[in-house]
Every structure is written in C-alpha cells, then in structure tokens.
Symmetry: C2
Subunit: 246 residues, 2 copies
Amino acid sequence: MCYTPSQYHLYQEDFEIVVVIDVLRATSAITAALHYGVERIIPVATIDEAISYKEKGYIVGAERDGQVVEGFDFGNSPFVYMDNDMSGKTVVLTTTNGTRAIQIAGDRKTVVIGCLNNLDILCSWLAEQHKNTLILASGWKDKVNLEDTICGGAIADILIESQKFQCVEDSTVAAKFMYRSAREHLWSFLRASSHRRRLKKLNIQRDVKFCLTANTVPCIPILRDGALVKLVYEPKTWLTAEMMAQ
Amino acid sequence: MCYTPSQYHLYQEDFEIVVVIDVLRATSAITAALHYGVERIIPVATIDEAISYKEKGYIVGAERDGQVVEGFDFGNSPFVYMDNDMSGKTVVLTTTNGTRAIQIAGDRKTVVIGCLNNLDILCSWLAEQHKNTLILASGWKDKVNLEDTICGGAIADILIESQKFQCVEDSTVAAKFMYRSAREHLWSFLRASSHRRRLKKLNIQRDVKFCLTANTVPCIPILRDGALVKLVYEPKTWLTAEMMAQ
C-alpha cells in the first residue's frame, strides 16, 4: 500500500492493478455516481482542465479544500451525483487529492476505485484477478490521512484473510492493523481525523456518514480510455469483512 | 509524525524539535553507545564520508542493507558499541536509513534520538520542553516501515495521554492506534515486518530482541555541532507507558 501519491514512484513498479482510494469524498462520490446512473466520469487534475470542459458544455464538478470551487455547480458530495438528472450523463470531476491520484496511476496501470461503500465487492473482484495489486491512498496534499489508510487496511485485511494474497510491504501490514483498531468504532475513531475536522466546519455530516458506511454501493468503477465507467461484474464468491455499518 | 525522510519537507515547518527514530538498528545502537560510554557519535550520510573519517584514524561503523560494509569493522549492532574499548571514544557512523534522517533534520532543528530502549525518559524530557515536536521515522529506503511507525506511535501515545501535547497530524493518530494494536505482543507483531524478515536472514536475532525491548537504556542522545552526545537529564516527573518488555 502507498499512503500518498507523492510516494507512488517508490511502489509502482511491481504492480499491475492500482486501487485508488479517497474516502472523503472523491472515490465515494465516483462509486455512488456510477452506481446510480452516471455513464462516465472523466477525472481531471487541474481546475483549468475542468474549466475547459465546462466551456464545452460538460457537467463539471470541482472541489478544492472540501468546498465547491467558485464558478462550478458541484463539488464532490456523493449525493449530488445520485440525482436522476445525472442519469446517462458524462461528468467531469476534479478534486483536491483523489482525481490527481487517479491520473498518476492511470498512466500505465489498470485502475479501479475503492472506498468503504464498495469494500466487499471490490475485494471479491480483486481476489479473482490473480494480479499484483497496489492500494494507493490519495491522502491530504501529499500527507498521510486516516480514513484512506484505514480503508486501505480494510481491503488488505480482507484480501490477506482470503489467503489469495501475500503482503510484501510494511505499509500494508501497518494499515491492516490500524483498520483492526478502528473497525469496531469507525465513526468515533475518525473524530480524530484532521480531515474530518475540516469537513465538520463545512457542515457536511451527511456526506461523511455516507462515506464511512461500508458496503452500501455494490459498484466498481474502472478507468477505461481516460474515463471511469462501471465494471460489469457479479462475484462468484463474495469476500466480506465483519465491518460495522455505522 | 513523518513516516519517511522523503516526506520531511511536508512537515518540517511547524516544529522546533525533531525526534529521529530508526529502531532496527541505528538509533537503538546510538542510544546504547552513548549510555555505555562512547563520548560522541558523528552521523554521516555517505560511505565516502565514512571512508574519509576512517583514513583519519576514527572508529567508523558503516551499515548498508543490514550488513557491515566491506572494509569496515563495525555496522550498526548495538552490542558492538557497548564494549569497554569504545569508552570515551568518538565514533563515526553511517547507516542505510537512520543517519540520513539525522542529517536531514539536523540542518535547522533541535534533534534528539528516539528508540524503544529510551522511550519513557525521552517522553519525559519532551514533555518538559513545551515545544512543537515532530517524530521523524527513518523508514526503509524512503518507504514506511513497521517498527519505526510503532515506536513513533508509542511516543505519541505517551505524550498525548500526558495532556501536554495535542496531535495535529493524521499520521500521528494513525501511528498511535497502530502502536495500541501492537503493544501487547510487539514481538509477534513485528514478525510481519519486512525489515525484521530481512534481518532474520542475517542471524541477528539478539540485536532485534534488544532493539524491541522498551526502557532498557535511560539515555537521550542529542545533536550538538554535528555530533550526537548524551544529554544530561534527570526527569522531574517520569512519563511511562504500560509497555511490555518482551
């Protein structure tokens, strides 16, 4: 597991699949959007790219520092993209951390999107691929954050327990044990998260609660030709963690 | 807390004291050396610098990838530096990760050395300083490692519980919870550590056991004029963790 995009170069060589995580809120929003009807999501790294898409008539979401960027109608709240009006549409999205991580990894690898909402279905799919898999947390401006590390630890725990994966990096072992400390009381644990504290100021408790609830959205977004689309997939065998919905 | 030297630039601004950790084995060896009589330790980052000191007649230890570098008599085994022959001497040391971290931080900050061996006395001293404090793990070749993260988590846990410190970084909270998962069975926990697996191959179980035992060496090394020396310090109030000696 790689805790931040800034360390990706240290880890990338040995892996064929990269799971990008940005629990609060980009990858949760992307997963919900595709599950509830959005056709494609084009992740872009910069505001300039987002503006250029907006000028071409696209629906564009842009978030920086937890807030909707001025001049845009949407940010990265999952609920926005679950609206019926979005159904069948292409959405362009740029966020502080998540879309940058997707772009960094998308260059050369198979990229899928992970969050707590799609935890079990994602792990079930990963276990069927028989590929070396890297979990890439988006972090917060290149620093480690708590919620992405815990989500990565949850994925690692499920995959290791399935005995279909071996763990080669200390960072993965560390995240797994952190998740085990956290899983019984994820909500109170994340009170300690600086990111959650930032979001609290922005009055988006409903988003946070949605994003921290496991296995509510059975959808795996996958990057194809620069856009995230819903992977057509029905698990042969479900892998599950005993994880509380909060 | 900063998990690797490569991320130090993201964290350094707000802190006056930096605690450098390299549990296996550099900072454990440095702490033991100064406690058992070595006068000064000059940390150097490169083998070339080490050779140049050796040519001047210094006692020089050089370790890379867990092994003594060819042409040198010592590596980073703590027991080497606890020898009576070393008493009163100046030692020059270069290691894969630890001495590099000391040099990076030593540029502008007050640098002290942390390990499990000096856990309580170090925390007691830090609590008396009333300064913003950064824990800098040496990691393994810029990647996160388990033992340094846990040791940093132990320091964080003690300081936060003392109510003299507040935690501003998610990485610190994460390390603290990881330590709490680990503390009851540190030895078996670290079996999962890739670094420990590397060291096992090198037959240095005695070193590893020494380095993973808390509070055996009441000494705080501090960097002064480019050399580590023993800080003269007697705690007014001891801070302690309920940590098992393994």
